[in-house]
Symmetry: C2
Subunit: 457 residues, 2 copies
């Protein structure tokens, strides 16, 4: 049933080689645009324009909108002005704006020259909003109704104007562009009387966003309210466009990927992995690697400060990785949990006391369990099985007490830093594993050596 | 515009104390179900049944469906049989099945006793599918049309039967329960002729899923194809239900949270952070912490094996944390990138050679840059500024060469383990930071001491 099969792609390429164009047309008409895009991505560059011209007009625009910007540029280069006009004016205006935003200046000039005047005006409007704002991701094509229309008149209007709209299922009731209410096609179709005015069945409690609302906030509202579309209004409460659920879903995925990349100490990237060059991957990864490496100077200084103690009791060194890693893992668990909860909107800064108290209790449970397990491991496995006779009871005790203290500190640092970052306007996702690990490393070494010097020397 | 304001919650609680029930009804009728749920979550338990009874019937069912299972159980306990019947039969059948799945046996008995026979049958059907399968998350309420109906007849049918359906916008054309095609309300409304048979305008290339398809795969298809609903068919190609986009969006969010939890070395949990007890957090976190702590035995053994070298050249110890952390961070970057790409469906096992080659190039760039930076840091900062005279040129060289080798190894381990895990049927998300760090730690220490003993002694 699912079309994302490798064999379909091979079949298409074979038919293309054999110039079986009618057969290709017959196949393409049965396929979903996303699946056609997958086929395009496997094609050699010079084959693409040919296959593109075999697509039905409407599908062609949908496929074009989903293609990578590089491929779009390539196709446009080969288009005649007529072909370009057909594709551009068939696009939804948000996709057209996206295209104009990404193409080089000379291509933009050609695109705008071929766009209808109305389309050109709307593209420019969308591009005037700041990046990642609701205004920049909205579309200006929606169904608007008047409050005094009857249900029957509204349905007639939808049937007349719906063809170019990205969604017809949510209609907006406006008067002099003021947003008065919202009514769904379901409400209209299921209305008991065709003569009821729209103003009587519309929902006046419209949830809307501002043109400047951040796209992440917009996407979150979709997953909270399960809307098909969300109206975008300007400061004067005048309706300017809608964001549709499919765009919201894409935003949600992108923002999550960004969060995950930041959590792993990388600069976020808009390109997929396979499309990023090694140099781009390097550029995204090196800043945090370098910064964290340099900050390891602190742990170096701490160890150097206790060089004499370590020389006298070399066995202490063997436990450094275990203590550091357990601290790092404990801290990451807390920080990642908090970062995700913040990004899903489940936590706010005011919950901080509750969070800290919960983490204290959790880390006491974790710390005591790990310390006990560690004690058994050291005394029985390391000492008896491995025969590491340098380990005595006091050493084991020092390691285990450090373990418990480290877990406590790690969880406290891990849970509080993301919340503080969010409060002071930084991105909490940065306060994840790598950053927390570096702090916890230094703290755990300090605790380790302080306890060791107090008890062992 | 957005209703998720703290003040609304306070107003409602105040009105409840003052017994202003009519005012409360007037407010509640203007609110979105999700926002009412937020208010409920702030209420004292004994206030909830009272507020619930003030809700309009339809909203009550929606609010009920979104509540936590604990709160649902509490409400049901207080319901009369009549109240329970009203709520249960107003629920969409997928929500009802979810409820039955989560309640204790005695409550389930009461619920099923009050459900209509048809509802009871459909609940049982949904519950018969394995957890996390398409069958278990679908709803059996959808609009079905016959191929020979005209457009006008189809619209009449939708208007007559649509009221109980979760979505009316995608209609399924069936004959003897076989799925023949799909037609949207948009297609029907915009059809040029009311007498055209549905079979002529329907799309026969229906993308569907099987009852046993994993819910994650289902959710991915939604974000790929931007569908409003996806039909679920049984082995015989008979249509049994649909999954709607809002459920798919929830699944996507849940699965991502699970991935993130696993990547940070935790067992995934279905409860939100604030609702999890400290003991539950402990139970989710301790297994990986303990396992990883015990596996640090290897790094301990490696260090013990080079105890004499370390005693002779204590300054080597000071660089252990920096080398370990940089290795861990490099490996996490690669593994997390690959895990996310796998989960978004951007990568497959067959891409492994490309991935490895890309990571080799990236790690050479990262490794050489970090090693150079590290050399400068050691020779100028550690040696001259901090006055650490134990560091000489050969030591610095050993540290920097180890750095470059560690980065290379870390990225290779980090990119290949998740892909191998996926190939052999394990969850790639587990192959993230904590696991990779443990492996890379041992590898980097081995390389460090081997190079050190070769060059320094």
């Amino acid at each position: 049933m699912a079309m994302h099969d490798v064999t379909i792609e091979k079949t298409i390429m074979a038919l293309l080689e054999e110039k079986k164009y009618q057969t290709l047309k017959d196949i393409l008409v049965t396929m979903e645009p996303s699946d056609i895009v997958s086929v395009f991505e496997e094609l050699k560059e010079d084959r693409m324009p040919l296959l593109f011209r075999l697509l039905p007009k409407e599908t062609a625009a949908e496929v074009f909108a989903e293609l990578d910007h590089d491929w779009q540029a390539l196709l446009i280069k080969g288009f005649s002005d007529t072909e370009l006009r057909e594709v551009v004016n068939e696009l939804y205006v948000d996709d057209a704006a996206d295209l104009v935003d990404e193409m080089p200046a000379n291509v933009v000039k050609r695109i705008l020259a071929q766009a209808d005047p109305q389309m050109r005006k709307e593209i420019n409007q969308i591009l005037s909003f700041p990046e990642n704002s609701a205004g920049s991701v909205m579309t200006t094509e929606y169904v608007s109704l008047r409050p005094m229309m009857t249900v029957a008149e509204a349905i007639v209007r939808i049937r007349r104007t719906g063809i170019d709209k990205e969604t017809i299922y949510t209609c907006y009731v406006t008067e002099e562009r003021k947003l008065l209410g919202v009514v769904s096609v379901k409400d209209l179709l299921l209305a008991s009387n065709d003569d009821t005015p729209v103003s009587e069945i519309m929902d006046e409690n419209v949830i809307s966003v501002n043109t400047l609302t951040d796209q992440e906030e917009v996407a979150r509202m979709f997953s909270k309210y399960d809307f098909l579309a969300l109206p975008v209004v300007d400061r004067g409460g005048r309706m300017v466009g809608i964001v549709t659920f499919d765009d919201a879903m894409d935003i949600l995925q992108e923002e999550t990927t960004e969060d995950i990349e930041k959590m792993a100490g990388m600069l976020p990237s808009e390109k997929t992995y396979l499309k990023s060059s090694s140099f781009e991957l390097f550029r995204n990864r090196i800043p945090w690697l370098a910064l964290l490496m340099v900050s390891a100077t602190f742990t170096g200084i701490i160890i150097t400060g206790f060089e004499n103690a370590l020389a006298a009791q070399v066995v202490l060194t063997a436990f450094i990785p275990m203590l550091m890693d357990t601290g790092g893992n404990s801290g990451s668990q807390a920080s990642v949990t908090i970062i995700r909860a913040l990004s899903l909107g489940e936590l706010e800064f005011k919950d901080m006391p509750k969070v800290i108290w919960k983490e204290i209790k959790t880390s006491v449970l974790c710390g005591v369990s790990l310390a006990s397990l560690c004690f058994l491991k050291i005394m029985f496995f390391d000492r008896l099985v491995l025969g590491n006779t340098g380990i005595d009871l006091p050493t084991a005790a020092v390691v285990c007490v450090t373990m418990a203290v480290t877990v406590l500190m790690a969880k406290l640092v891990g849970c509080s830093l993301p919340m503080i970052a969010k409060k002071i306007g930084f991105d909490p996702a940065v306060m994840a594993s790598p950053f927390i690990t570096t702090i916890v490393d230094a703290l755990s070494l300090l605790v380790y050596f302080k306890i060791a010097t107090a008890f062992l020397f």
